[in-house]
């Protein structure tokens, strides 16, 4: 539930990237090994990794900022671009595809009017395609923030989206 609290913090208080990075470094240590856990936490609290945060991580860990940026750019769960309040991940791997994923994807795009990777103008939604999300027993699968929806028929899409404000 720590992520829920982080979510709430993200929405109510405009967090200071410096302070967030400092707290993460204190928790995970200032070794090279800790860079991914630190970036993951900062990204979760701030919603993404702004340049200021990356610079701060580079200073705390005494790592060239190019290396911090190259790690941040590599992993799917780390984003260097701002994301919407809610992030939708849609699984486009074969098991979900075979179970009718294509129709769900079409419906999602229709409802949101977004291309993969885009964020809506009002900052509410970011739509991402994902490789396997690890819940293949119940395809097609989509994940909104941390909530997993399995065996989703296309007609359930609007109802799921309506749960989020």
């Amino acid at each position: 539930m720590a992520t829920r609290i982080a979510e709430a913090e993200k929405m109510t208080v405009k967090k200071d990237p410096q302070a967030v990075v400092k707290a993460a470094v204190e928790r995970h240590g200032n070794t090279r090994e800790a860079v991914i856990p630190i970036l993951t936490e900062v990204s979760r609290v701030l919603g993404y990794l702004p340049t200021e945060a990356l610079e701060a991580v580079s200073q705390h860990l005494r790592l060239p900022s190019s290396q911090v940026l190259s790690v941040a750019g590599f992993y799917r769960m780390l984003s260097t671009k701002p994301r919407g309040r809610h992030v939708i991940q849609f699984c486009e791997s074969a098991p979900c595809h075979v179970m009718g994923g294509r129709e769900v994807w079409r419906r999602l795009q229709e409802e949101l009017g977004l291309q993969p990777g885009e964020t809506s103008a009002d900052g509410k939604w970011t739509l991402l395609t994902a490789s396997c999300l690890g819940v293949c027993g119940v395809g097609p699968v989509l994940v909104v923030d941390e909530d997993i929806y399995g065996s989703v028929p296309p007609e359930r899409v609007p109802e799921i989206l309506a749960r989020y404000s």
Partner: protein, 547 residues
Amino acid sequence: MKPIRSMVLVSSDADSMQRGAQEVFQRLQQEIAAFGLEDEVAVAMVGDVGRHDAVPLVIVYPEAVLYGPVRPEDVHFLVEEHLLKGRIAAGLQAPTRELSGRIAWLSARKGTLPAEQRIVLARAGLIDPEDIADYIAHDGYEALGKALTTMKPSEVVEEITKSGLRGRGGAGFPTGTKWRFVAQAKSDTKYIICNADESEPGTFKDRVILEGDPHSIIEAMTLAGYAVGAHEGYIYVRGEYALAQARLRTAIQQAKEMGFLGEDIFGSGFRFDIHIHTGAGAYICGEETALIESIEGKRGEPRPRPPFPTTYGLWGQPTVVNNVETLANVPPIIRNGASWYRRFGTSSSPGTKVYTVLGRVNVTGLIEVPMGITLREVIAIYGKGMKGGAAFKLAQTGGSSGSIIPASLQDTPMDFDSYARAGVSLGSGALLICDEETCVVDLAKVLLNFFRGESCGKCSPCRIGTERAYRILNNISEGIGKLSDLDDLLLLADGLYQLSNCGLGQTAATPIRDILRHFRAEVEAHIRLKVCPAGACPMSGRLAMAA
């Protein structure tokens, strides 16, 4: 522990939690205590039970009665009727439906699926994964005690070698041999890594082991550490597996408190410690050298091999990297002996294999069966036949290390060597069963789309090859392919296989070769006749030309 008469399981996936599973769980505990049943009835949260239409679900064993959706106010009646009076609580049962997912294998314990053998999943779903006492009561840490007090490290390696255990991550390398390499390496510092970055599409067997029986991995890693002379272990869990991470943390904490981790384990003088490293979303980190780079805090780009991790692994030290399922086999082997283990499976591939059965079958879910079972048996016995009585067309064995298996191979025994002789591979344990509605071009396109997205980009044969192959397949599916495209695809497949740095690029060629070998006519129909026989491809280029 006192004998437990009944086991009550509450589903605790995200959906269930949202709908009050936690409160139902607490009320169950209160009511069971109120009726004075706490000594004979155990309650546990079990994660995702594979069914979401009536959550939260409450399952009562040994009768395997399924209640749902259960509201907190229903709990008093349920406990009084079922657990006190011993009859089914009328009106609370979940609507009947073809069971799916884990319910299918839970009910298998009642003897409906006689061929299923459980070694790896023996405890998953039956014990409380957050209670070390429950694990100990079910033979837990017995193997560790036996090894540390009665066996030399070399004897542990010897026992694993004799058992014939082979890596379950996809490659099938003999585990005992790997351990021996590291045991013989001359270094003061060695590491054990558990590869729990399960990201092969369609595979979630490791998640179920980690969520259902986390202590078995802790015990296995400690055994491995003792065998090869390592004192530190890392579990690399994929970032998406939040529940597995939490349960592993709890398990490590409990093991430390009980003295199964830390200094002087079982008074043997042996010390071992385990850290958890969580991934951040990169399929390539399942490759062992990329995984090591990621633990070191770098981009997950594979290293050239050799040197292999057994000589140059984490921070340049000799390292054992084993998959979750492989490790889960270790404690039972040490506890019962290699000859016991060899009773299961085939002579060259002993033991069991956990498969995730997915796709167009009536029952999907997780099964653990002896090596050497056939695809036809899996579909008929465990999948309960094809959905709607459709014809079986092909199976995709999951992720980058898998193959597309045509119907003509459905009677080939599923073990490492029989499949290798037939020119296909077992993969990581996913069995995606497809019927005539699946188009091979469309399937290969989806697979190549996955590879082009997950290629780390370090080496150009893979980075460019997967992209080119995807575009050609896309053209074919749009009805604008040329016959020469097929030669280009095979050329790309050769390049990918021979020139890529790691397994991702090398196996990205597999779907291309498989569809052209087994389904060439269907692919050519897209090009010569501008028709998708399965009716799955858009073929919009053809329509555009006609208009």
